[in-house]
Every structure is written in C-alpha cells, then in structure tokens.
C-alpha cells in the first residue's frame, strides 16, 4: 500500500475570519483594561479577583488568543495575543473559528454560546461568573444598544446604568482603548 495515496487532510485556515476575530479580541482586551480604570463596577469586580488573576481567551486549537491579567500593583492590563509563558488562572476556550464568529458578530450572546457548549471555561467558576459580568458591562459600553441587546441577557436600565455614566464612560473607554 502506498500511504502517499492517502494524504493528510489539512483544515482551511480561514484567514479573513481569523483576522476579524483577532481584531475583536484585541478590542475587547484593550476595552477591559480601559473599563477597569473608568467603571466603578468593573473596578470592584477586578478588586475581588485574586492577585495573580490572568485570563486567556482563545480559539481552539491554534488561536488567535488574548491575555488580560492583574499586575503586581493590582492594575488590570491587556497583555497581548502572544503566549509569553503565561499561566492563566482562567481560560475561556471557544471551540472553533465558526463559534467565535457567531459570538463576535453578535449573532449569539455569551449566554447562548455557553448553553450551546461552544464556549468552555477552565478555572475557578466564581472568577468565570465575575468575568461574564465584566464582559457584559464592557459590551454595553462598546456597542450601540441595538447590538448590545443581542450580546447580553439584559440591557441595563436607567436605574442600573444612567445615560450620563454610559455615554461618558463609553467616550473614556474608547479613548483609552484606542490610544497607546
């Protein structure tokens, strides 16, 4: 038998989708860092997390990825997309590029993505709960209401986030996320 007649099938790379997801991960990572400085609730959530908290969010099996962690002085920092030997305390794995596209094009919110088993969390579950709350707030800041409503279970009411906080926070987060 000539084994060469049966070549290994390699998956397509899906470059465009990967680039889109990588950009989205970069935006979300930078926005989390900015929101941790701007928003009181996000700040409080991070304060409750352990000092060595480090999040890895990535697409199985080859990325892209993003890392966000707490520094020694307690600040929240986007650490980039490269694995520099980090030891994540919380890993959120999106099972495929297609699953990530559904999530990052807001066709599926985080909750539905989890319910459909497209998203796997490894690490302390209380940290995962806090992170989902942080992501929800960040999405509300980043996205217009019509899109954010698709991404989160419940869009905050006035009593939870007044328009002044929302719009002022949004400007600050965009400025901080996109300036170096």
């Amino acid at each position: 038998m000539n084994a060469l007649q049966y070549p290994e099938i390699k998956p397509k790379k899906k470059f465009i989708k990967r680039i889109y997801i990588a950009v989205m991960l970069w935006v979300v990572g930078r926005a989390i860092q900015a929101a941790a400085k701007v928003d009181r609730e996000v700040k409080e959530e991070f304060a409750k997390l352990k000092d060595n908290f480090l999040l890895k969010m990535w697409i199985w099996p080859n990325g892209p990825a993003m890392y966000v962690g707490k520094t020694k002085d307690g600040k929240v920092k986007y650490l980039g997309w490269k694995d520099k030997g980090y030891k994540p305390t919380l890993t959120m794995t999106i099972k495929s590029v297609e699953a990530a596209m559904l999530l990052f094009t807001f066709q599926e919110g985080t909750a539905i993505s989890t319910a459909r088993n497209r998203l796997v969390v490894d690490g302390d579950l209380p940290d995962a709960c806090a992170l989902v709350r942080i992501l929800n707030i960040v999405e509300v800041y980043l996205l217009p209401k019509i899109i954010a409503k698709l991404a989160v279970k419940r869009y905050p009411k006035w009593s939870q986030m007044n328009p002044l906080r929302k719009h002022f926070g949004r400007i600050l987060i965009y400025v901080r996320a996109f300036t170096f």
Binding site: A111, T114, N117, C129, V152, R154, Q160
Partner: protein
C-alpha cells in the same frame, strides 16, 4: 404554517446518554449478567451506613450470589456530603483488594464518591485536583454500576460529580462523559424504605431538574422529551407515594422520573433555582432537595416574561390534558406555577407539616431555624459566584437575588412588576 411556530428548534444542541438503564421491580436480579457483560469479576460495593442498615446491600449481595459472584470489598462509610478524603480511602481499599469494578449503591453523595474513586483508580492517580473541571478525565474508566436508593439526584445518568474538600473549604466539580456509569439499575425495592419527608423533597428535586431543563437556555428537543415524561410521572405519583410509602409501582415511577430528569438536566443544565439552592446549601447547610422544592415556583415566576411559552407547556404533564385544554393559553404559565405551589402544599399536608414550603419554615433536627433572614445577603453574594446562573434565561444582579430570596423566605409570590426586563 411555519415549522418554528409549533416547536422552536435551537440552531445547535448536544445530547449524550450512554448509560444502559435497567428498570423493574426486581431489576437487581439482572446484576450478575450485567456485571459479566462489562467484564466485572471483582466488584467493590460503595455505599453509606443508612443504606447498609436499611438492608439494601443484602438485596444486592443476594442477587449477586445467585451466580456465585461476590463483592471483593464493601465500603459503607460514605458521609452525607462526599469528601475527598473518603474518595482517597475508597481508592486505597479498591487497590488493596485488587478490585476491577465499582458498584455504587446510594444517593447522590455515594454515587459522586464512587465516581471520584473511579477516576483515581482508573487513572492510577493520587490526587483528584488534576481532574477538576470539565473534560479533564479523558479516557474510559473502570466498569461502573450505579444503583440509586433515592429518587431525586439522577446521578446514575449524569456526567458530573461534586466532591468537597473540607480542609480547603471548597467543592470540586468534575465533568466528563467518562463519568457516566456503564449501567444504572433502578429497582423499586431500593427506594421503598425512604421516609415520606425525604421522598417528598427528593421528588421535588427531580421535578426541578426536569422543569429547569425544559425552560432554561440549553433546552433541546431530546432533553425535552425526557423532562416532560419525568414531570408527568412525578405529578402523578409523588403525593400518592408520600401518603402510601409501600406503593412499589409509585416508587418505581418516581425512581424512573428521577432518572429521566437526570438525563434531561445533564444535557440541558439548570438555572436560577439551582443557582440560589447551591448558595443556600453552602451558606446554611440546607439539604439540596429542600431548597429546590421551595425555590421552584420563584424560578418560574422570575423567568416568566422570557419563557412564558415553555412554562405554559409544562401545565400539560403537571395537571393533565383536561386542565390544560380548559386553561386559556395566556393563563397557562401562571397556572403552572399555581399547580406547583399546590403540589408543595399537598406534600406539606401529607407529611404533617414537615415538608417546608418557605425558607423560614426550614428547621434542623433540634428545631433551630436553618435560614435566618439576616443570612439572605450572604446567600445572594454566594449565588453570584455560582455558574448555574449562566443557563438562566433572565440575568440576575445582587438586588434581584435579594428580591427572590426575600419572597421565598416569607412565602409570598414574586411581584413580577418588580422584575427588571432588558
């Protein structure tokens, strides 16, 4: 008519149940053949003192001896709350006695302990910590037979185990398809001796599994079928069995319902009721089934604005065809809640008031109130760290938890106008 108008099919779902289930009044008589089929020659029986003292192990052993098969070891000291130390002890005995398989006879704690021990002996590991989380048990474990003695947890068909580490004060959750037992044997004799109060709240635990599986976010057509069948069996049999514990047909129906509900929630997960129930269990040490029983109507009320169709559909298996047809579609969701509240009241009456209806009615054996009102903020904070919230249709913040807890404590329906809608 659009297809979706009849049944809304999710765009994607997963379902797995690979457990061979044997059900019957004397189903245990099949145990020799079942063990042979999975090549188990030196099984270890794992159980607790209560099961042993109720004489249930004798029934298992008698069934085994008919084929001259003997248990190579018997461990009967599993505590009420599964513990990592006990898991290590079980694994040690398993290895010393050169066992090759496990028969777990008991409730959720026994089955979870046995699952934990099976991880250790199959992986030849010393520490369970490396397997914590979902998907970290990656290969087939030793042959495992589960024989439930309560009709509530459904652990015999679930792919998860929760084991406490009391030294570190944490609960470790394990999830893997390899944790599913090979065989589940449901024999009515195994639940016959359950006292009425335990029968009542374990039955409500199973009902909660099925109801939450049916209306929460991961519902799917496959888990729906098992959930609906479980709800019907419980509605038709629970109060009767509590009133007449020797009703073996009713016992078998409830044990099967627990199995079906376990199959449903193992695939569709659970929501708010389990979310808050876990927190009450953690903060106040209240048995899981008791919390489920009290919180179930509140879980339905809280999510009604988002899941009214599904909650309304539950009226059919709960109340039967006649009530369902007579009730206008708009009123079915509220009627479902009303029916569940009536079921809780009936159980309260059938147990001479021992079955609690509200959180303030939960007492320990010494008569001390287990959930003082001042503990509600602690419970709410703990609930915010419980992952069952992911699968709940509506979001919850601290104030929402407090609102639900205060209503469940007082025993008043939720004021649905106060529920925040996005």
């Amino acid at each position: 008519m659009k297809r979706g108008a009849i049944m809304q099919l999710p765009a994607y779902y997963e379902f797995c149940n690979s457990v061979k289930t044997i059900v019957g009044h004397k189903a245990l008589e099949q145990i020799p053949q079942s063990l042979k089929a999975i090549n188990a020659q030196r099984p270890m029986i794992i159980t607790d003192k209560g099961v042993e003292q109720a004489g249930l192990i004798k029934i298992v052993q008698a069934a085994m001896q008919k084929s001259k098969l003997k248990a190579a070891a018997l461990f009967d000291s599993v505590p009420a709350d599964s513990d990592v130390k006990v898991v290590n002890e079980v694994a040690k005995i398993y290895r010393a006695k050169k066992c090759d398989s496990i028969i777990a006879v008991g409730g959720g704690s026994v089955l979870d302990t046995a699952k934990g021990a099976n991880i250790l002996v199959s992986e030849n590991a010393a520490d369970l910590m490396q397997f914590v989380g979902y998907g970290n048990v990656k290969r087939k474990l030793r042959p495992f037979v589960a024989i439930p003695t309560t009709a509530g947890t459904g652990s015999e068909v679930t792919s998860v185990a929760v084991i406490a580490n009391h030294e570190k004060n944490i609960k470790m959750a394990f999830g893997s398809l390899f944790l599913l037992p090979d065989i589940a044997i449901i024999d009515s004799r195994m639940t016959k001796t359950l006292p009425p109060t335990i029968t009542a709240f374990t039955g409500m635990d199973a009902l909660t599994h099925a109801v939450e599986a049916y209306f929460c976010l991961a519902k799917n057509p496959l888990s729906d079928t098992t959930a609906l069948a479980a709800i019907q069996l419980i509605a038709q049999n629970l109060v009767n069995v509590v009133k007449k514990p020797s009703d073996l047909d009713g016992r078998l129906a409830l044990a099967l319902a627990s199995n079906l509900a376990g199959m449903a929630f193992s695939n569709s997960m659970v929501g708010l009721v389990h979310n808050i129930g876990h927190a009450i269990g953690g903060v106040c040490g209240v048995p899981h089934g008791v919390c489920m029983n009290i919180l179930l109507p509140y879980g339905l009320e809280y999510n009604m604005h988002k899941r009214s169709q599904y909650i309304g559909e539950l009226l059919y298996p709960l109340a039967g065809e006649e009530v369902y047809n007579k009730t206008p579609k708009k009123e079915r969701p509220l009627k479902t809640v009303e029916y569940i509240r009536k079921l809780i009241q009936d159980l309260h009456d059938a147990t001479d008031g021992k079955h609690p209806r509200f959180l303030k009615e939960v007492y320990d054996r010494t008569g001390k109130q287990m959930i003082p009102k001042e503990k509600l903020p602690d419970i709410a904070r703990t609930a915010m760290s419980d992952p069952a919230q992911f699968y709940n249709p509506e979001d919850l913040d601290y104030n929402d938890y407090i609102m639900v807890l205060e209503a469940a404590w007082e025993g008043i329906p939720l004021d649905r106008k106060k529920i925040k809608k996005g």
